[in-house]
């Protein structure tokens, strides 16, 4: 699957010279928690998100006035707000954001998000900003796409073959000491493995096959104790 299959192909941006007030207003209006920041030519120069505000607020908790947060805490702080609302986006944003191309595999996007601890990736087409991909989008697509491993034919024999084939490909189960029987879509697993996780994984594998209505897990776990364990 590619980035373009999961991203939101809409871009709401804010200019780096606009005020924090404008940026917050946009975020609330469009109910988004992150905005790509662009320069006068429309090129991407940064990312602004709730995290940036929270980080600044955390640094400032020694002082009591961070006026531009009055959007979220009106009333008493309104006075201070008037002074601070002129602060520019470029002072608060995270510069040089990571991006991903629309034709990149989702796997790449997942790796970037994981290693950089980010939850939001601007998507580009030939270097131009065309959309946004967030962790939330990845999660949404997981829900939208069911997953089932379809055997070639839906019969019990085909299901059994398919399961055995899948099992033989798994690096977590070297050799295949597993016995599989299928009766009207109901699978029974028998055999012995060395760890409970292998037993559980076998159950997951069998359960995910199209046509399987239930899995009875009769796999036994052999207790082996080694000196280092």
């Amino acid at each position: 699957m590619l980035v373009l299959h999961a991203m939101i192909p809409m871009v709401i941006t804010v200019s780096q010279d606009q005020t924090i007030g404008d940026a917050i207003k946009k975020m609330i209006e469009y109910r988004i928690s992150g905005l790509p920041v662009v320069d006068a030519d429309g090129a991407l120069v940064g990312m602004l998100s709730e995290s940036d505000f929270l980080r600044r607020a955390e640094l400032g908790t020694g002082r009591k006035h961070l006026g531009w947060l009055a959007y979220f805490m009106p009333g008493k702080l309104a006075g201070e707000y008037v002074h601070e609302h002129g602060r520019r986006v470029r002072e608060v944003m995270t510069p040089d954001p990571m991006t991903v191309d629309e034709y990149a595999p989702l796997e790449d996007a997942a790796k970037i998000m994981e290693t950089n601890y980010i939850k939001r990736l601007p998507v580009t087409r030939k270097g131009r900003l065309i959309g946004m991909l967030t962790r939330s989008d990845m999660m949404r697509v997981v829900a939208e796409r069911g997953h089932a491993l379809p055997p070639l034919k839906d019969s019990d024999q085909a299901i059994r073959q398919h399961i055995l084939e899948q099992v033989s490909r798994q690096p977590w189960l070297p050799g295949s000491p597993v016995d599989v029987t299928v009766d009207n879509g109901r699978v029974t697993l028998l055999g012995t493995v060395s760890d409970i996780q292998q037993a559980k994984a076998l159950e997951v594998l069998a359960g995910n096959v199209k046509g399987v209505s239930s899995v009875t897990n009769g796999i036994r776990i052999l207790q082996l104790k080694f000196a280092e364990d």
């Binding site: 699957m1 999961a6 005020t19 007030g21 404008d22 207003k25 609330i28 209006e29 709730e50 929270l54 607020a57 955390e58 908790t61 009591k64 961070l66 947060l69 009055a70 959007y71 979220f72 805490m73 009106p74 009333g75 008493k76 309104a78 707000y81 008037v82 609302h85 595999p105 989702l106 796997e107 997942a110 998000m113 994981e114 601890y117 939850k119 962790r135 939330s136 990845m138 999660m139 949404r140 697509v141 997981v142 829900a143 796409r145 069911g146 997953h147 798994q170 690096p171 977590w172 189960l173 070297p174 060395s194 760890d195 996780q197 292998q198 994984a201 997951v204 594998l205 359960g207 995910n208």
Partner: protein
């Protein structure tokens, strides 16, 4: 100030055996990135977050280690990854207990340290092994910033009233509960936060007034009028509302 002053006194949770689709729908509906997982008795058994769905077979991002790596990673670890990336119930995908949590009496500084240490944005608030609320990073920082006001331990009756108010607020579909904060003292409620139009402000006041036990409602809500870009702040102690227009 303590967790009890600032937490959301309710928690959206999911059962460990629920299908992941239900969990995802719940998270998207309430716009939350972390979901505490409970067993049939209601005890906390794990936490499910958005990040748990980065590696999944449905979107082609499952972790595939080649067979020859089988002797570098042990079979147990590989099998666990398989379950995580292919399993269809919440307990297959969640991060299992022990979960980082706080109690109502945890002070805010300790709570902040925990979030920083573990790089998390959400702490379940526990009473025994039951979740009774959630403390988020955003509300924590807001509270620390407002620490100019002293906030004594609330009376039990005020705390219960706050809980009942939040229950009502949560049930009102037209409200986004996380954008509001409600404090109760001696039965007097004070609401602050953001709404999208002035009718919402009126409606919230009416809703809170009607909760049994509430003696009065003061509003410090701000609303943002999208067309003109004006931010209108409630009068608070002043007689007329202050209107600030942004260009």
């Amino acid at each position: 100030m303590f967790v009890v002053n600032v937490m959301m006194p309710y928690a959206i949770t999911i059962n460990r055996r629920a299908p992941i689709r239900d969990a995802i729908r719940l998270m998207l509906k309430h716009q939350i990135s972390g979901l505490p997982v409970v067993d049939d008795e209601g005890a906390l058994v794990g936490i499910l977050s958005e990040s748990d769905f980065l590696h999944r077979v449905e979107i082609g991002t499952e972790r595939r280690r080649s067979c020859w790596l089988g002797f570098l990673f042990n079979a147990e670890r590989l099998a666990s990854e398989y379950i995580h990336d292919h399993g269809r119930t919440v307990e297959d995908v969640m991060t299992k207990a022990p979960v980082v949590t706080v109690t109502e009496l945890t002070d805010l500084e300790s709570a902040a340290k925990l979030m920083e240490e573990h790089k998390i944005k959400r702490l379940p608030v526990m009473r025994g092994d039951r979740i009774i609320g959630i403390l988020t990073r955003a509300s924590l920082i807001k509270a620390i910033m407002m620490q100019g006001k002293s906030m004594p331990m609330p009376k039990k009756s005020d705390q219960e009233l706050r809980g009942r108010i939040f229950e009502e607020v949560q049930q009102a579909q037209w409200l986004v509960a996380p954008l509001l904060d409600i404090q109760v003292k001696n039965g007097n409620a004070r609401i602050s936060g953001v709404v999208y139009d002035e009718r919402q402000e009126e409606a919230i006041k009416v809703l809170v007034e009607n909760v049994p036990g509430v003696k009065s409602v003061a509003s410090e809500l701000a609303w943002i009028e999208p067309l003109s870009g004006a931010v209108i702040l409630s009068p608070g102690e002043e007689k007329t509302p202050k209107i600030i227009t942004l260009h």
